[in-house]
């Protein structure tokens, strides 16, 4: 545990050093390519962190408090979107694993759904779901779910098919029905695959929520903050960087939550022992 903490701090320090070192070196030689390095294009790390602890407006709350609340709002959208997307993705995989015909028929469209840029889909979702008595943020969750379900479907499908053929014969010899085979064999066998997908989806759901806030014109989340600080980048670049920092932190939190879930659920041989 201690070693891990040391490694974590060391890597963080290394990254900061790299950032500041590049900045110092580039400014010293007046670097113009690929971009001019100055405090606007590449602010000091301590200025970015410092911006978090300055008032967000005159006599207002600190920026970190504002961003914290916005992060929580986005987290809610992303969490609902992740749950929705993962569930839908899992159910699709369960249906497809039981029918080769459906799998061959539908898989191309499921793949195609992900080649449509999310920015093109998002406004439609907002239009479809807007004004139905649903809270505005729910549209954002649906957009996040759209990004989330795909890795889950693909990995769950693979995982559900990963069961040992002889284990299937064994279940067959017990006259096990599809339901029993699914829950006692296929799903447990799919768990490592599912969690690999959840890790991708968890971070994708945060990205989806942030992007989804833009066409939904939702100001309460990190997407709104990014849009806002983008406009004032010339005068206060550190605020956009600080917001990015918070967004990245949120994504890492989602990832860690999935990792914790995996530790609880998946118990099997460590690869090097098996």
């Amino acid at each position: 545990m201690l070693r891990r903490a040391i490694v974590f701090v060391a890597v963080l320090a290394g990254l900061v050093a790299l950032w500041e070192g590049f900045k110092a070196a580039a400014e010293a030689v007046d670097l113009t390519w690929p971009f001019v390095v100055d405090d606007r294009t590449l602010p000091h790390v301590h200025d970015i962190v410092g911006a978090l602890f300055e008032p967000s407006r005159t006599n207002g709350p600190l920026l970190i408090d504002v961003l914290g609340e916005q992060a929580l709002f986005t987290a809610k959208e992303a969490a609902v979107g992740f749950t929705l997307g993962a569930s839908v993705g899992f159910v699709i995989a369960v249906v497809l694993v039981h029918s080769n015909l459906l799998q061959r028929g539908f898989l191309p469209y499921i793949v195609a759904s992900q080649t449509v840029p999310i920015l093109a889909v998002a406004p439609m979702v907002v239009v479809w779901l807007g004004g139905r008595g649903l809270p505005g943020w729910f549209s954002v969750s649906v957009i996040a779910a759209y990004l989330t379900f795909f890795p889950v479907t693909i990995n769950a499908l693979r995982g559900l098919q990963s069961a040992d053929p002889r284990a299937l014969e064994l279940m067959h010899s017990y006259a096990a029905g599809r339901w029993a085979v699914l829950w006692k064999l296929r799903v447990p066998a799919a768990m490592p695959f599912l969690f690999a997908a959840f890790k991708i989806s968890a971070t994708a759901s945060v990205v989806g929520a942030i992007i989804g806030e833009l066409p939904a014109s939702i100001q309460d989340g990190l997407g709104g903050a990014i849009l806002n600080f983008n406009q004032y980048y010339a005068s206060a670049p550190t605020r956009l960087w600080a917001t990015n920092l918070v967004a990245a932190f949120l994504g890492v939190c989602f990832f860690l939550a999935v990792l914790a879930g995996e530790r609880l659920v998946v118990r099997r041989a460590p690869e090097h022992v098996a």
Partner: protein
């Protein structure tokens, strides 16, 4: 138990794979009586594993009839007449030893208390008491196979089908498990159909050895093993044991010569099992 009762009856069973493809089994006729220990032996490709799967209704024969306990093989499987052991233990990694053994009992809808009582008894039978909370990957190959045997026997199936269950184990472990299997067979009074390519294992374990030949897979001889019961370690040193080993080997050779197809290499492979 009525000793004359027929447990398995095969009438003119043929199995072809693919459209007009390989004939895995041709014209197989065989009767196995209650309490018998019948071993199928032959070189690779002789269809012994296929025949075992046909008996267990895991593969459907192309032609012919399979009657198990007076029912169709399909009906027998529905009524859970089979306990199956494969060459690999095929344990579920995510389940403990106890829960692996309890798997078929869950299928039968036994309540928790009845399950744990039976699991305790099975662990005693295969001498793994104290390992109930271990996971499969924490056990040696021999121990894993004992768990797999305990799982197969847990629900008292009238017919035990074993497909080279000790094939992946070292010679010492194999001989010890041979003794254990005989002890379990005597204690449970079940009928066993066993597949192996080891002549000595076949002679040591069986009441009858069925010799098979490849292309097409067929029965080329049956050797009654009249060694006294119970079999003990010294059984392997009796002159009669060697006579029977020779008899089985001669049948195998005859089958190969008669077919004129079985390669010398395959015969050598069979004999190396000794």
């Amino acid at each position: 138990m009525n000793e004359n009762r027929i447990v398995v009856e095969l009438r003119d069973v043929t199995k072809e794979f693919g459209r007009g493809g390989v004939t895995a089994l041709r014209g197989i006729g065989l009767q196995v009586g209650a309490g018998e220990f019948v071993t199928l032996i032959g070189p690779s490709g002789c269809g012994k594993s296929t025949l075992l799967r046909v008996i267990g209704d895991l593969i459907e024969p192309t032609a012919g009839e399979v009657v198990v306990n007076g029912k169709s093989a399909h009906q027998a499987r529905r009524e859970r007449d089979y306990g199956i052991v494969f060459q690999d233990a095929v344990l579920y990694d995510w389940r403990t030893v106890a829960k692996n053994i309890a798997l078929p009992l869950e299928m039968l809808g036994w309540d928790r208390r009845r399950r744990s009582e039976r699991v305790r008894r099975m662990l005693e039978l295969v001498e793994l008491t104290g390992f109930e909370d271990h996971h499969p990957w924490q056990l040696s190959g021999g121990m894993q196979q004992r768990v797999s045997i305990a799982r197969a026997l847990a629900f008292d199936p009238p017919l035990l089908l074993m497909d080279e269950p000790f094939g992946a184990l070292d010679e010492m472990t194999r001989e010890r498990l041979n003794m254990e299997l005989l002890r379990i067979w005597e204690a449970s009074g079940s009928t066993v159909v066993f597949v192996t390519h080891s002549i000595s294992e076949a002679v040591f374990l069986s009441t009858r050895v069925v010799v098979m030949s490849p292309r097409p897979g067929r029965i080329t001889g049956v050797v009654d093993i009249d060694l006294p019961q119970p079999r003990v370690a010294e059984t392997r040193e009796q002159p009669r044991f060697f006579e029977l080993v020779t008899a089985v080997r001669d049948r195998l050779r005859a089958g190969g010569a008669e077919a004129g197809e079985a390669s010398e290499q395959e015969l050598i492979a069979v004999e190396e099992g000794l």
